[in-house]
């Protein structure tokens, strides 16, 4: 990589004085702009289409540039070290990084500048991947990258040092969702001294895991896990549980969110008490919700929790952890005979039946008094759906994702059946087996040892479920073109068909709207970056925990929930949060107190006129309340004196960027060889640090 780290130290004469743009000088004698430009190859993502070295060499023609360097990955430790070393040595005092979208690495490079003792706000980002190399090719891409980097440099020269706005943060958290993720996150937060309000829509704690039996691959008892976590949550003095409650309003900002919760609608078929009562009856729990006290365990539902009696209840919190969980895919009527044949059930239903017979053994599994001699389990039901092959749901959605947990759950169920009821045979109809995690492959091997029969189908030719005849001797027949026998048509008569249904995101459209949450193409909530910020959302102070983000098993869910809790604790740990200082600032010397900015201001209270003493006389001047200023700039546009501007996003900086976009200065021919790209002659080109 060393040969790709190149440097152009530039002659001192290149460092021109900052332009005075009429309104305000953004530099001073002691802070003469010395811009360092750092251009990333992005491992070929940029350099395959942009001649990165040509861009670097062209930067020698750009005023204010003190040094220009390249690196294979500027975000890597060695890449950041290039920047930090130049700051520490005093070579530069402002930074431009040209790389991927600023949403990915702006904070990375600001932090690097701060670590090197620089001001993190004397930084500008040039997006030459998403907005150049991924959309343009060849010389036009290199030329556009040159202009965008030059424009960033034009702005960087005018950047003043800024200090973040410090706001006190409430050491409180709201966790939305009382499944395993919410319980785990609430406990981790509370144990670090954060007060937690846990809001759960249903009347029970335990979420999706409470609907399961033995968990793959360890065979851990789901009921025990839920009872343990919920018991500790209910007993914890720092946690208040509000069950049967939904979020009805949301506002504020990191450190100071305001949320209102209200009792969940009684008629809600998914969450209402009537549903809870019906479910309790089905699962043999006490027949009425009123019979359950908080802490009681209802099989298939979870642990009863204290209900929010009336509302709305106002909650103030520093952070929010979203743990809204998943929903089981509901097969369409007729999909593999579902809802047409009573012998076709979902795998979660079969798991509940097995949980109810936990520890029992016999020759043959009995369901509803009916001996199950053979069971067929069909994989990938409602997962890995293919456009044009599978039918969209009523909202036009397809689940193109793999739900990840169903292969192991199905194989775990098969092993349980084979080992407890040896005369019940299991046939697994699969597309691909994805037993990906620790201990899961062993379960797959164990299924083979247990003589579970595997048959493989293609998505285009799925198994067909039909009613069996008397000659078949079974109520259903599963017909399949089996790829393992090179396309042989096989009929498997069975007593029961279980559909390994996938995971869908929980239905939370109101939360998505209220909190302005980003949703991925798969409709799960979308983190900022899968590796760099895996449990964070773009809204500062809002975190993701568990299967609201993607299909996960219970172990992965707990990992994610603990990660979210740690992130939240580290944010609240200092007792204050720092907000970007991109708010309006008044130049009191230029302000005449005309009030045009106050009239244009969009957030009441952010701008006001006040009387001030200047030179012994009283004068009217505009004053900004930074914590209330939104930074939109509506004031800057209307000031006749150009006496107000948004820090970090000033009009003069935009004007400088436009000037660099239209300028051909970076493309000036080399005096030595007449190369337009710049050959480097006249400027020393040396390997990087």
């Amino acid at each position: 990589m060393a040969e790709l780290e190149k440097t152009t130290p530039l002659p001192a004469g290149n460092q021109a004085e900052p332009q005075a743009n009429g309104s305000r000088t953004d530099g001073s004698q002691t802070d003469e702009p010395r811009v360092g430009v750092y251009i990333c190859y992005c491992g070929g993502n940029i350099s395959d289409h942009v001649d990165v070295e040509a861009v670097r060499e062209r930067m020698e023609n750009v005023p204010g540039v003190a040094v220009a360097r390249t690196n294979m990955f500027m975000c890597s430790d060695p890449g950041q070290e290039l920047i930090m070393e130049d700051l520490r040595s005093g070579t530069i005092n402002r930074v431009v990084v040209a790389s991927c979208a600023p949403s990915l690495h702006e904070t990375t490079f600001r932090a690097a500048i701060a670590r090197a003792g620089g001001n993190p706000y004397q930084y500008e980002h040039a997006n030459i991947r998403e907005q150049v190399s991924w959309v343009h090719h060849g010389d036009p891409a290199t030329d556009k990258a040159t202009r965008m980097v030059a424009a960033a440099t034009g702005k960087a020269r005018l950047l003043r040092p800024l200090e973040p706005i410090r706001v006190d943060a409430l050491r409180r958290a709201v966790v939305v969702g009382g499944g395993v993720a919410g319980l785990r996150a609430a406990l981790d937060l509370a144990e670090r001294g954060i007060e937690v309000a846990l809001v759960e829509k249903s009347a029970f704690l335990g979420g999706g895991v409470a609907r399961l039996g033995r968990l793959a691959p360890t065979g851990e008892d789901a009921a025990g896990l839920v009872a343990d976590l919920a018991g500790r949550v209910l007993a914890h003095p720092a946690i208040v549980v509000h069950a049967g409650a939904t979020v009805t309003s949301f506002g504020g900002y990191v450190g100071n969110f305001k949320m209102e919760i209200s009792p969940a609608p009684a008629g809600d078929p998914a969450t209402g008490p009537a549903a809870a009562s019906a479910q309790a009856q089905e699962t043999g729990a006490p027949g009425r919700l009123a019979d359950l006290a908080p802490g009681d365990y209802a099989p298939g539902r979870g642990v009863a929790a204290p209900l929010l009696a009336s509302g709305p209840l106002a909650l103030e919190t520093g952070v929010v952890v979203l743990a809204t969980g998943f929903a089981d895919y509901q097969p369409r009527s007729g999909e593999y005979g579902f809802a047409e044949h009573p012998e076709v059930v979902t795998l979660p239903r079969l798991l509940r039946e097995l949980a109810a017979r936990d520890g029992q053994t016999g020759n043959v599994l009995l369901l509803d008094g009916r001996p199950i001699r053979r069971v067929g389990i069909i994989h990938c039901v409602g997962s890995r759906q293919i456009p044009g092959v599978h039918q969209e749901d009523e909202n036009g959605h397809l689940n193109e994702h793999c739900s990840r947990v169903c292969c192991s759950a199905a194989i775990n169920a098969a092993n349980t059946i084979r080992e407890s009821w040896p005369d019940t045979h299991v046939y697994e109809f699969y597309r691909d087996i994805r037993t990906y995690g620790r201990g899961q492959e062993e379960q797959y091997a164990r299924a083979s040892a247990n003589k579970v029969v595997f048959l493989r189908f293609s998505a285009e030719e799925p198994p067909v479920v039909r009613r069996g005849t008397e000659a078949d001797g079974f109520p259903l027949v599963l017909g399949v073109k089996d790829e393992l026998t090179f396309g042989e048509d096989l009929d498997v008569p069975v007593d029961l068909v279980a559909l390994a249904t996938g995971m869908e995101p929980g239905p939370i459209p109101e939360l998505v709207d209220m909190l302005k949450l980003p949703v991925g193409a798969d409709r799960f909530l979308l983190e900022v970056h899968p590796k760099l910020r895996p449990v964070e959302l773009p809204v500062a102070g809002v975190f993701l925990a568990g299967t609201c983000q993607a299909p996960m098993d219970a172990g992965e869910t707990c990992n994610a929930a603990s990660a979210a809790a740690v992130k939240a604790v580290s944010l609240l740990g200092r007792g204050f949060v720092e907000l970007d200082p991109f708010v309006a600032e008044v130049n009191a010397e230029a302000c005449t107190g005309c009030g045009a900015c106050v009239e244009a201001c969009l957030n009441e209270g952010a701008l006001a006129l006040e009387e001030v003493e200047t030179d012994g006389a009283t004068a009217t001047r505009a004053r900004v309340t930074p914590a209330l200023c939104l930074g939109c700039g509506a004031c800057a546009a209307v000031c006749p004196e150009q006496a107000i501007d948004v820090n970090g996003w000033t009009l003069a900086q935009y004007e400088a960027m436009v000037e660099m976009i239209v300028s051909d200065a970076p493309f000036a021919s080399c005096g030595t060889c007449a190369s337009r790209a710049g050959c480097g002659a006249g400027a020393e080109t040396a390997p990087g640090a």
Binding site: A101, E130, D143, A151, G633, V658, I661
Partner: protein, 141 residues
């Protein structure tokens, strides 16, 4: 000095896009993630809200050599309540001043682009390319 941007396939003239950081700018990133190509004379600046720019900013840009400006806002999704309406009112005044100077108002356009509005983004850019083809690469020309 040789003339850059004279490659075949790159339209003449420069289009400036003022893209809001919460909607249109990530929308442009989304176009990049989809590797959907568009002409390389489109230059995107990230803005918090386009309501920052006074009328003179647009006129100055056109004078400096920008051929067309697309203000890609958040529309009704604007996180700054009232900013979009204020912007729409300002656009009327921008158009008035453009007309006073004999400038074709099609060179400045206000639109709303969401974070995943790839098709709408490409459509807006291509429409402005056509305007520049018809009216000339720069307003001064």
């Amino acid at each position: 000095m040789s003339t850059p941007d004279s490659h075949s396939g790159v339209p003449q003239g420069k289009i400036l896009v003022l893209a809001t950081e919460s909607c249109a700018y990530p929308g442009a990133d989304s176009v990049g993630q989809a590797h959907s190509s568009y002409p390389a004379n489109v230059h995107i600046l990230r803005v918090k809200a386009p309501v920052l720019f006074p009328e003179r900013f647009y006129l100055d840009c056109l004078e400096k050599g920008i051929g067309g400006i697309i203000i890609m806002s958040c529309g009704e999704e604007c996180p700054y309540e009232g900013a979009y309406k204020a912007m729409a009112r300002r656009l009327d005044r921008i158009y008035e001043r453009m007309k006073e100077r004999g400038l074709d108002i099609r060179r400045v356009r206000l639109t709303a682009i969401c974070t995943v509005c790839n098709r709408a983004f490409l459509n807006e850019v291509n429409q402005m390319e056509q305007v520049l083809q018809e009216l000339g690469a720069t307003a001064a020309a």
